[in-house]
Each structure stands twice: as structure tokens, then as C-alpha cells.
Amino acid sequence: MRNGSATHRLLANWNLALYFLSRHDSLLGQHAFRASLFHSGVGYSKLPVSSSCFVQEPLTKLAPLLACPTIVKDIEHRTSTYRAIQDCVVLHSRELSSQSTQGPIGLPNFFSNRGRQLMKNDSAQPHNPNYNLKVLSGLKLLKTRAKDPDDATYRNAPTVFLHIPKAAGNSVKKLFVKGFLLEQRNSQQLGAKIKMQSLHIDTRRDWDIKKQAKHPYAVFFGAFAFGACASHPQAPCAYYVVCNPPYNTLQRKPHHPRSFVSLLLESCPSTSIAMLLILRINVAQDLVEQCICAR
């Protein structure tokens, strides 16, 4: 293939599609589906959440209908099953959405970027044998970074702190996010007070959905903050995070109650769950959750 911008775009999309599909091993072998899944991404995000029907191995065309109560209801009102099948849209995955293909829209690493700029200025960029390969594979072409931003860009960009639980996140918030960073940003922008926003579940969803009511927040933080910049009017943002060795994180809170999720997964291990009925019985301080799967 000729090495041109169209080729780069194609390879970038290919790379992204492969990433999505690699999370579902069974789909990797289906070439036509692989292509159509990726290209159907735009309409996909508009589907209502209520349309979720999971069928692991649809042996017959009727299997999806039996798995999905809303479609079964449709059959009662139609003259033939065939007609109902025609009206049934089967989705193989609910993963692809326009939001996830967009990328987090973050500024590249400040220090690596500075290093690159210095190398450019010195006209002494070392030959990297992997560079062309990365460019051709599309890994560097996703819409996730601005082109060689300068220092001022980082100092004016909205900041997003990704708070990994049990990784000194509260200390960072106290000292830096709500302390030093806020002071500095306020002193830089005379007269205008910098606004910050915690992105928990409700606030993060509101931030993504209520695009018409966007406030120009400059400082974000939260465990669900990653990707929030995708809907920021002043994107790209500067994301930052503190990582902790996994063992240390676990040591910090070694005794936890069993979560509902693990009990759910134990009882209903596959994605073929069509309907869940959850019974909770409190027996002598011990919470027992029982999950009944109906297929």
C-alpha cells in the first residue's frame, strides 16, 4: 500500500478495531463482522440500554428471541415468527461506542514531550527502528494528543486527576489538586476564579451527557475521571495519576466484605444471562445473596 494519509487513517482504524475485538476472542475470526462492527459504531451508541440481551451461542435464529423478553413480547403481536426475526437486530457486542473510539483527548507526557522538542531543536533525533512501524500501525494516530504542545499549553489546559483508590489519591487531592494547583491557577488567571469538579458516578454521567450545560471547569478529579476530557470544550486536557504497586494497594485494606459482583458472577458465570432475579436474605448478620438465572 502507498504510504499516504489515507493509509494511515485506515491502519489507525484497523488497530482500534482489533483492540476492541481482542477483548472478545471469539469474534476475532469473523472478518465480515469485524469490519461491520467497527463501521457501525456511530449508530450503536444511540441504542437504549434496555435492549441488552446476551446470547453466548445462538444455535438457531430463534435463540436471540428466546433470550430477550422484549422481543418475545413482540412475537405475540405478529403473525409469523419470521417477521419477528426480521425485526430483531442482533448485536454481537455492546462495547463499541463513539465515545470510546474518540480516546481520552489528553496532552502527551510533559517531560517526554519536552525531550522531543529539545531533540528537534538540536536536529539530532536518533533513528528509532520502531518509529515507522508505530506510525504505520496507527498507534500514534489516534486522536489522543495535541501536536507538540508547549509549556504554556500544559499550564492553561484543564487538568484531570485520575484517582486510583488506595494510591495516595486523597493526599494528592488535599495537597495538590485543591491546594497548590488551584492556588497557582487562580493566581495566573486574575479576576476569574478557577472552578473544579469531582467526577463521581452521577457527576461524571452528567458531564458526559449534558453537553449543552458545560461549565468551563479547569480542575477535575475522581476515580471515574479518565476520558472526561472527551466532552470538554477546551480539550485536550492534562491527565495525571499516581500509581501504587498492586500488593501495597491490597495491603492497605486487607479485610473487605464480599462484593455483590463476585457473588453475582459466581452464581451466574456467563454472559448468557437473560434475566436476573436477585434474592437477598439477611441471616444472622451474614448477608447472603442468591442469584437465580433464567435463560
Binding site: 477483548r23 440500554v49 485520575l162 495516595a168 501495597n248 479485610h255
Partner: protein, 160 residues
């Protein structure tokens, strides 16, 4: 209330650090049992699950493809990366990159980071094995983050 030992806890949580680096999609904000959005505080406290756990139920836990993807893009996505064990240096990196100023040392020292005791002594070898197996991907991500952290420090030393 049932509690877990550290190995069980690791298996329960899995590679949850990596899962924070994967973008959430609109479906993740909903609870499984309802067709409409219910605000977090109005959900049943005993059964509600957060968006990351929600995705895990829907799509399964993070896998090696996720790790590779995140590792590949870590440098492109994150303006700065810090490490808990190197808290002061992390704060210096954040301050320099995002404000252009140095953070006063007495200010950094004033913050207490919890639980510095991370020794594995006293934990059975079998349990450690189970923990390591459960958090393999998180460990991989941590190594990638640590390597980038050290690269950042080398650059910082040129300017401070």
C-alpha cells in the same frame, strides 16, 4: 458480614488499577436491573455496583489486550505520572508540569500518606502466589508507569 483474606481480596478485585485506565462508555453508568438511570445514592446500597464493576459484569475483567493498549498509550495520554512510594518526587513532577513552579518541600512533607507498612513477611507463600497471579496485569501496568516515572525524573533534573 463475610470478610476476605488478602489472596481472596486480590482475586476479588482483580486488576482494578488497569480497569481505571479503560474508558467508560454510557452503558456503564446504568445499573443492570433498570432501563432508566437511577442516581447512585438512590440505588440499593447492598447491591449497587460502580461503573467499573458494571463493565466487568457486562464484558468480563480487563485482559492482556487492555494492558498492551494502555501501556502503548500511557505516554500519549498522561501529562504526568506519579508513584505513591515516591510521593514527594511525584508532587514535584506534577507541580512543574502543570504550573511551571516548584512545590515547597515543607508543603509536601506536611501530608501524611497512609500505611507505609507494605511488608509481605507473615503472609504465606501460597497466598502471595495467588495474589501475584490475580494482579499480574496491574503489576505490568505499574512497571510501565514506574519506568515512565523515572524517565520523567531524569528530564526534571535538567530543569530544577
Amino acid at each position: 458480614m463475610r470478610t476476605l483474606n488478602i489472596a481472596q481480596w486480590a482475586e476479588e478485585k482483580g486488576n482494578f488499577m488497569l480497569e481505571h485506565f479503560l474508558q467508560l462508555v454510557p452503558e456503564d453508568w446504568y445499573q443492570i436491573s433498570t432501563n432508566y438511570y437511577v442516581p447512585w445514592r438512590q440505588r440499593d446500597r447492598e447491591t449497587r455496583i460502580n461503573p467499573i464493576e458494571n463493565r466487568r459484569v457486562r464484558e468480563g475483567p480487563a485482559n492482556i489486550a487492555d494492558l498492551r493498549f494502555v501501556e502503548e498509550h500511557l505516554e500519549d495520554w498522561f501529562a504526568v505520572i506519579g508513584i505513591t512510594e515516591r510521593f514527594e518526587e511525584s508532587m514535584m513532577l506534577f507541580a512543574f508540569a502543570l504550573t511551571g513552579e516548584s512545590i515547597p518541600k515543607n508543603m509536601v512533607g506536611s501530608v501524611h500518606t497512609h500505611n507505609q507498612n507494605t511488608s509481605v513477611s507473615g503472609v504465606e507463600a501460597k497466598k502471595i502466589e495467588r495474589v501475584n497471579a490475580a494482579v499480574t496485569l496491574d503489576t505490568g501496568l505499574y512497571h510501565a508507569a514506574f519506568s515512565l516515572f523515572e524517565k520523567q525524573l531524569v528530564q526534571l533534573e535538567k530543569y530544577i
